[in-house]
Point group: C2
Chain length 211, copies 2
DNA sequence: GTCTATAAATAGATAGAC
DNA sequence: GTCTATCTATTTATAGAC
């Protein structure tokens, strides 16, 4: 076996290859779902043999788990409690909602694979879907909910269950992203920039909950 | 071949059997998706042999198409333009949004299979997903959008793109249903009645768009 | 680390008896 | 109308050479 500089050129290092397979699989799984994607397709798209896929991941399920784990657990997503922190401290309500929405919409637009993957795993009752829910959604509800409660105590927002407000707000932006990436890719129904959407949603919600 | 009363007791009539297979398949497809459900499973769940499934539906795809077609096309869904018609004529804005939301949430709760099926077909890029979009979603945007435009002309609603308002409003209710049936079945995050949700969403939106 | 070849299991679909 | 048996293709996963 020759160990020279060249080996790293012609052959990929183990970790590198592993990551490459992971990325290819993520794209395919997000497009066609877990059961709809074959290991052969993944291997072909990655330019390796099927055996190589199984060398890096013992089973197809393990590969799937590694993807969700990487995306949902390893800090690839911004910590919800840290978003719009400065606006929160200024108690600039509009900025809080606007910045949060814009960040989410941009993220969804740049990385629609992840949303599709999450939907697939939710529909397939994958355990890691629940994990994402615990790890991320619950955090958003706590973080944004506590801000809303604070503004209620300030006498600025109407008295109502803060979690309902979060549900309404998150609904606007998630549904907008979902709609854009699943049903209306050509933006036939509504073609607006993320900035405009963020502005409109923030304004509707803000007027909706302000006294 | 014996044709007596008894034959109808021991053996199902063709159409009846067809409908039964259709219903069983709908449940399984909604649970595990098109590719995740085998014809063998469908046959077993319906209590017939696989050959019987293929007698009624030439291919698995044809079976899937028949389900979506039946659900999305054959008037099993209320015509969006007819919902809350009376409230619309009274120009009772709150009632319009409240009734529309309550109807949708109840429908989603009683029949979560259809929403799951739609999501699956959207993720799998099934042509019938697009058909549903044309047939149903577009209608809602036109119907509700024109009501909003009317109320803007009345000087009651703020000037903004009516379609954005529809997007925000539909988002609240769809996301609420989606959340309840996909991620938070135990209602750990937010456990409210459909009436309460409809009330809150209608109020937030109404205050959000009223001058 | 990577390949080819192949085993083992499962999928959709059909044939033909009753 | 319904069944059993079976065919063919595909899919996951492994063995073993290089």
């Amino acid at each position: 076996m020759i160990r020279t500089e060249e080996t790293t050129v012609t052959r990929m290092a183990g970790d590198e290859r592993r990551l490459q397979i992971l990325r290819v699989a993520e794209r395919l799984f997000s497009q066609k779902g877990f059961r709809g994607t074959t290991t052969k397709e993944i291997a072909q798209a990655a330019g390796v043999s099927e055996a190589m896929v199984f060398r890096h991941f013992a089973t197809k399920s393990e590969l799937y788990a590694a993807i969700i784990d990487q995306k949902a657990c390893q800090g690839n997503l911004p910590e919800p409690s840290c978003v719009a922190l400065e606006a929160r401290e200024r108690k600039d309500d509009y900025a809080v909602f606007y910045e949060l929405t814009l960040l989410a919409l941009n993220e969804h637009e740049q990385n629609p694979e992840f949303m599709r993957l999450l939907l697939h795993s939710a529909l397939e009752n994958h355990e890691l879907s629940q994990m994402f829910f615990e790890r991320f959604v619950v955090t958003i509800y706590e973080s944004l909910g506590s801000y809303i409660a604070e503004r209620q105590r300030d006498g600025v927002f109407r008295q109502m269950d803060p979690r309902i407000v979060v549900r309404a707000f998150v609904g606007m932006m998630i549904h907008h992203s979902l709609n854009n990436s699943l049903w209306d890719k050509e933006r036939r129904l509504l073609n607006i920039s993320n900035e405009e959407a963020a502005h409109s949603f923030a304004e509707i919600l803000l007027r909706g909950v302000t006294i």
